[in-house]
Symmetry: C2
Subunit: 222 residues, 2 copies
């Protein structure tokens, strides 16, 4: 076997193991009534800011918790802990994505019994996390208005694997002359049936996102 | 050998091969008098915008060229081609970084004889490209003011492997309430001796960067 063929085979085995563990996680979350959202984006798209405001808002009406993936720091977990809800950091070292096995380990230290809604903030990366199922109910990809309208076309796998696209930092759209219809058109070129939401978390504008989450958790059609 | 040990060994071989090819590239660039800059950043930090303005500015005084890495599109190469300088796209598929071998292949189609300054725009990713030497003279990491001050601490390998940090979108610093001294402090916590430059390419403010490049290419101390 050539080196390339061996790498492909090993990678296939890693993915197979991840998919198996993700299935077990999904079964476990369903049995306990925990709805799970996997949040992915490039670094700096505003995952932590959105999550911070979301936890504050939703913690008054349901039991929420968060797992946060990062290469090297627990800054995000510390920021999110201020909301008073259970938060656990997963530090991945040099690995550019979360894997189902990391989520399984983290849950040993943070049981999710009684949790209605669990957020998993993935490592900031528009490539690697796309292939790793974490047992989530849906995957939300964030893209900020400052990143340019062509991001969906340049990172198609990530946008294609997401169920919801959240356009963030809408308050900056005018300052950066963002073409929002063009961005939405490019998102839909990759994934025609995707739900697109808009937020400006810094300005506390996140009602589209909150309403969507409430609908998902209560099982209402969106 | 366990699966993990085999993956580590295969990865080591891939890196060893890349380092060997990068050494050959570096030797070749030196022999031809081509200065090479590897530009890395997360998606949306403004690599292409900066490069577009840089090529326009420098093409009046020296021979410049660019290689552009992307997963799936040649949008960036098309944007850069408007400058009239030689530009070549490298499409990486699902690979989240450029490798020395891809650069070697691209050079077969775009010879760099007579080129004074070659830019290599890496795939937008703050993790994967850090380990791959492309034979460059220096590596510039871009970080935009909209990304948050803690990025260097969260992606230390990338900032540690860079020689120059370019803070981009300075024109938005006030609107996003960016703490530039804090961002610079965090960059220097990871890499104390790094050169830090500031640009606002959209507003044609890139003199710090242009002066730095001119100094590098002419061999003057910076």
């Amino acid at each position: 076997m050539t080196r390339e063929a061996r790498i492909v085979e090993l990678r296939r085995n890693v993915m197979k193991k991840n998919d198996q563990l993700a299935r077990e996680l999904r079964e476990r979350f369903r049995a306990r009534g925990t709805f799970v959202v996997n949040i992915v984006s490039s670094p700096g798209s505003g995952k932590t800011m959105l999550l911070e405001k979301t936890l504050h808002t939703l913690s008054h009406e349901m039991n929420v918790a968060a797992l946060v993936g990062d290469l090297a720091t627990d800054n995000d977990a510390q920021r999110l802990a201020s909301s008073g809800v259970p938060v656990r950091q997963i530090t991945t070292g040099t690995t550019c994505h979360l894997e189902a096995e990391m989520v399984t380990s983290a849950l040993e230290e943070m049981p999710t019994d009684g949790i209605d809604l669990l957020f998993i903030e993935n490592v900031g990366n528009l490539v690697c996390p796309s292939s790793y199922d974490l047992g989530e109910n849906f995957r939300a990809v964030l893209v900020s208005v400052t990143e340019g309208e062509d991001k969906p076309l340049k990172y198609p796998t990530m946008f294609n694997s997401a169920d919801v696209a959240v356009i963030t930092k809408m308050d900056l759209a005018e300052a950066v002359e963002a073409d929002i219809p063009k961005l939405e058109e490019n998102i839909r070129r990759i994934r025609p049936d995707i739900t697109i939401l808009h937020v400006a978390a810094r300005k506390d504008v996140l009602d589209e996102w909150i309403t969507f989450l409430q609908g998902q958790v209560s099982g209402s059609p969106v």
